[in-house]
């Protein structure tokens, strides 16, 4: 390789290495600020090394699994509330609006809203998260023991 090419090779590789280092350091510094949402544990225990907790009234997103049996619907309106959990702490979400089709108990969701108190959120938007597993219903039944039932759109009066 002639000296000029060698020089250019070093220059281009050098720029690339320095830049990756720079971007890497930047992303590391941003770290949890890039996260889309708080998990229930982060909301309650605080975020990052200095355990910074969000303040009441702050707009934020919360993401977690809908606790089984925690969905309570209002009979006369679209108001609904449910609990979210990840590894321990439970956070309650209140919402007034239409839930996405994939919303169900045990499903991961992301809600955006304001913090009412340490563990309660008034959501303005609820999004459903789904995982990276795809399979036909009969396989899901055999593998996971999940019987596929389309989510209920109406609930009879008297259901909690």
């Amino acid at each position: 390789m002639n000296p000029r090419r060698k020089q250019r090779l070093l220059a281009v590789s050098g720029i690339l290495v320095l830049l990756s280092g720079g971007v890497g350091a930047m992303l590391y510094a941003l770290n949890e600020n890039v996260d889309l949402f708080y998990t229930p544990s982060q909301l309650i225990d605080g975020l990052g090394e200095d355990k910074k907790k969000p303040v009441v009234g702050q707009r934020l997103r919360i993401g977690g699994m809908v606790v089984k049996g925690s969905v309570r619907r209002d009979e006369h309106s679209l108001k609904v509330s449910f609990d979210l959990v990840d590894t321990g702490p439970v956070v309650t979400v209140h919402y007034d609006g239409i839930l996405p089709d994939l919303f169900r108990e045990g499903q991961g969701i992301v809600a955006q809203g304001t913090l009412l108190d340490a563990t309660t959120i008034q959501a303005t938007e609820v999004l459903a998260k789904h995982d990276e597993n795809y399979m036909p219903p009969e396989v899901a039944e055999a593998v996971k023991g999940i019987k596929h039932v389309a989510p209920k759109q109406t609930y009879p009066a008297g259901t909690p």
Partner: protein, 250 residues
């Protein structure tokens, strides 16, 4: 080590080679894409959770994977163009960039169309979606920069630098769903583990991924050939080629 590659730096030799590849890749890519999409969109079973909506994966995932793959190839061409100053590599950057931009657009559009019924929103500023949008801007930036200078050489060089520098975004896109929490789910097939997809759905997806790759190859051959003709228009071999073409069509 790479001495065998030297002849291909010559536009005339590369032109003939690309023509040969294009003749194979173009029909093959169409057949493979048709097979994959018809099988995937029409004949795979519905998903246990998402029903029929998940079928768009057969367009979304190949486009998204190859938006990054195309970028990687463009960056390799840019690297060669910068270090070895091979003309044909410089032209390849301009030939590849629009293909990548369209793949990225397809990935973003099908993602939005899939997100609305499943997540409940067209768009969310999470790490995966945002970094993929940046990829689109990188492609557009490379295209704009290459044509932004009165002097073609300056434009080629500037575009090559941007293309190489933008490589940093590729690992960010890929690992965004692992490093941060996002609305977008984790990887289904591009990971060192068994794909989390039933074989009946996986096969058409793999065929579609292959189809998008072949189409990228075919389009690159086509566009790079055009670029070679444009840049070499004053050379005798091009004039001779054009004359032969005219005789062939008469």
């Amino acid at each position: 080590m790479f001495k065998w590659l030297d002849p291909y730096a010559k536009p005339q030799v590369l032109f003939a080679t690309l023509l040969w590849w294009q003749r194979w890749l173009m029909p093959l890519s169409i057949v493979v894409l048709l097979l994959g999409t018809v099988w995937g969109l029409g004949f795979t079973p519905a998903d246990y959770q998402q029903g029929d909506s998940y079928r768009i994966i057969h367009v979304h995932v190949p486009a998204a994977i190859w938006s990054m793959g195309v970028y990687a190839w463009m960056a390799i061409a840019a690297f060669i163009a910068l270090v070895w100053q091979v003309k044909t590599a410089q032209w390849a950057i301009g030939a590849i960039a629009p293909i990548g931009a369209v793949y990225t657009l397809i990935a973003l559009f099908t993602g939005a169309a899939w997100g609305k019924p499943m997540w409940g929103t067209w768009w969310v500023w999470d790490a995966r979606l945002t970094s993929e949008l940046i990829l689109l801007f990188l492609f557009l930036g490379v295209m704009a920069l290459q044509n932004a200078f009165a002097d073609r050489q300056t434009g080629d060089k500037a575009a090559a630098v941007l293309a190489v520098v933008g490589v940093v975004n590729l690992p960010i896109i890929h690992y965004s769903v692992e490093w941060w929490n996002t609305l977008h789910q984790g990887a289904t097939i591009t990971k060192f583990a068994k794909p989390s997809m039933d074989p009946s759905m996986l096969w058409p997806l793999l065929i579609c991924i292959l189809g998008f790759a072949l189409l990228f190859g075919a389009l690159t051959c086509l566009r790079l050939r055009t670029a070679i003709l444009q840049h070499e228009a004053h050379r005798p071999w091009v004039r001779q080629y054009v004359q032969e073409q005219q005789h062939a069509t008469v």
